[in-house]
Structure formats: structure tokens, C-alpha cells
Symmetry: C2
Subunit: 190 residues, 2 copies
């Protein structure tokens, strides 16, 4: 009658140790580092996401992919980060008028589900490390049947997009993941 | 460092009392009843979803919309039902080869997020009460920028779709919701 998604223990420690993340690159570098730690600790797929106050850079939440450890196919990094931020701020809407504007920083473009989750979350800005075919080519992960004009659709709903932020560093982690031989857990194994 | 989504107390009682749901219509009727109970108890939006073993009709989980009470924009009925089913079956993949085929029954078509969540969940069949503009027209809820050919995309991934099952009954609950004056919580209120 209840499901929970938790961050791994190492993530709790690492979040405490994070310095103030001033620039977009600082924030993305931290997110990419969490994506790498998540595979090194074998606590999920190679994906991480952070919710920040856009202007101040204050970190509201950090999420990592928890699909396999939590037996929950919706526990993508974005959904985890957004849900933790909403819990922390006690609001289902990170874009409400009484709040500073929030930004979601992710180590790759959203999948077909996280695209919709981004719309509903109320965030105002999406920062991604890349959006071309490299993730799927390197790792074999499937991004799913997303809207063919997903960038335009997000922008039309008032969500700005900044792409190609530290793309090479993000892809380096995907190569580490590929070389580790860990599970690529795309839907419907059967 | 953790977020949880719980079913309301009344749902736990009602699930215990459910008879065996043999036909598609039996299953949809139960789902529509849960959507109505969710607004009557003021425990979320007018949406419910059930995961069933397709052939036997065994109920694996029932979910209702919990966005506002849980401060979680991803807590749509489908995500709640799928996550509870995956927890119950200890698998992120409801379509794995060692399981009977699973079916998701929902009182309307998926939104832009739940469409993707459906793909990742591993379910084999989607049964919906309707998919035209009536929900949005009656209630003002926004389904979001879903893929323009979402039905074809789901079918291409091996998920069968049965539409227009007890549509009038489903719409009747949407009218009750509209007339109740409760919050329509679309993303980005600000």
C-alpha cells in the first residue's frame, strides 16, 4: 500500500560534502560525478539529476537512477530528484509563484517518461549534457518513443533548455558503464 | 533522502472487499469506482489504475492519483499502480518471461508522462475508458504534449490497447469532479 524510493547511503554522504555550485558547469560536473558513483557503487544505472535554485545555485535535491535496486521502473534519476525536491519544498509544483525558479540538471536528455515528468514538475529550466544518439550507441539504453519535437514542446511550455554541457565528460561515464558489463535494464526483458 | 507514496486508508479497505474481477468491464468498473472514491474522500484527482494478471484477472495492485496529498507531481494513478505492482512482484519488469502477462486498466488515456512510464513498466496490455478530448473538456486537466502517434508507438512495442471501455461511466465521474470545485492541479501554477 506504499512504495518508497531511497537514495543510496554514499549519496547522502556525498551531498553533505558538495561545495556551493556556482556555474552551470559546476552543477553538471557534480551531476556527472554522481552518475559515475552510482555505477561504481552498483546502486543503479549511469544517470543522475539535480534540482537547483537557478539563480542562487542552491542545491535542493540530487537523484540517481534506482530502477533495479528499488524494483521500480519509474525510479529514473529525474523522477527521483524532482520527487525529493517536491517533498523537501512541500509542493507538487516547483514553479509556483512564491518560489525562486528551479532548474533540473541531468547527465543526458530525458527519456519518453521523464519528458512528461519534467512538464508536470514545474521546473523552469532543463540543463542536459547531451541529446544526440551517443548514449544509446554507447550503452544500449533505450530512450523510448519520445515526442519527435520534444525540445520545442518543452520550450512552448516555458521550460528553457541548455544542451551540450560537458558532453564529453558525460559520455566518458557511459563508456565506463558499458565496459563494466552491468545490466542495461530496458523495459520488457521478456 | 527518500520519498514515499501511500494509498489512502479507504483504498486499503476497498481493495480487501473487491470480488474477483472476471471481465474487462468488471475491472474497469472497479477502477472507475476508485476514481470516484478518490474525489469523494478528497485524497487526490479523479484518476485510478489497476494492474491485473490479464488472463486470470487477479488484481496485483490498485493505484489512485496522489499528486496533491503527497506533494509529488509524478504520483499519477498509473505510476502509483505500476510501482506498487513492481514492489509486490519484486521486479522492475512486469513483462519478464517468468511471469503471467500483466494488464494496466485506467479510467482514461495516459498523459505525456504515464505514456512513457507504461513503456518502461513491462505491461503487455493497456485498457482505457477513453482517449478523446472529453476529459480535458470536462475537467480542465491537461494531458500534456504526448507523442502524436502514441497509440501506434505503444502497439509497436508490443503493448495492446483496448479503448472506450465504459467511457460514459468514466466521464460521469469527471463531471462529478468538475461540479465539486476541487483543485485542477496542472503543472506550473505560477
Amino acid at each position: 500500500m506504499e512504495f518508497s524510493v531511497t537514495l543510496p547511503g554514499w549519496a547522502q554522504d556525498e551531498i553533505q560534502k558538495l561545495p556551493h555550485l556556482e556555474t552551470i558547469e559546476d552543477r553538471m560536473r557534480a551531476v556527472i560525478r554522481f552518475s559515475q558513483l552510482n555505477i561504481e557503487h552498483d546502486t543503479g544505472g549511469p544517470f543522475a539529476a539535480g534540482v537547483f535554485e537557478e539563480e542562487s545555485g542552491k542545491l535542493i535535491s540530487m537523484g540517481v537512477n534506482r530502477v533495479v535496486p528499488m524494483s521500480c521502473s519509474s525510479a529514473h534519476a529525474e523522477v527521483v530528484a524532482l520527487s525529493l525536491a517536491q517533498k523537501s519544498l512541500k509542493s507538487f509544483d516547483l514553479g509556483s509563484v512564491d518560489m525562486p525558479e528551479h532548474q533540473l540538471v541531468v547527465n543526458w536528455r530525458p527519456c519518453a517518461m521523464c519528458y512528461g515528468a519534467t512538464v508536470w514538475s514545474g521546473i523552469r529550466a532543463l540543463v542536459i549534457a547531451g541529446s544526440d544518439g551517443q548514449l544509446e550507441e554507447i550503452t544500449g539504453f533505450d530512450e523510448g518513443p519520445i515526442h519527435p519535437k520534444w525540445k520545442e514542446e518543452l520550450i512552448a511550455r516555458g521550460i528553457s533548455i541548455q544542451d551540450d554541457v560537458l558532453k564529453d565528460e558525460a559520455c566518458e561515464v557511459f563508456r565506463l558503464f558499458r565496459d563494466s558489463g552491468k545490466l542495461v535494464y530496458n523495459g520488457r526483458q521478456g
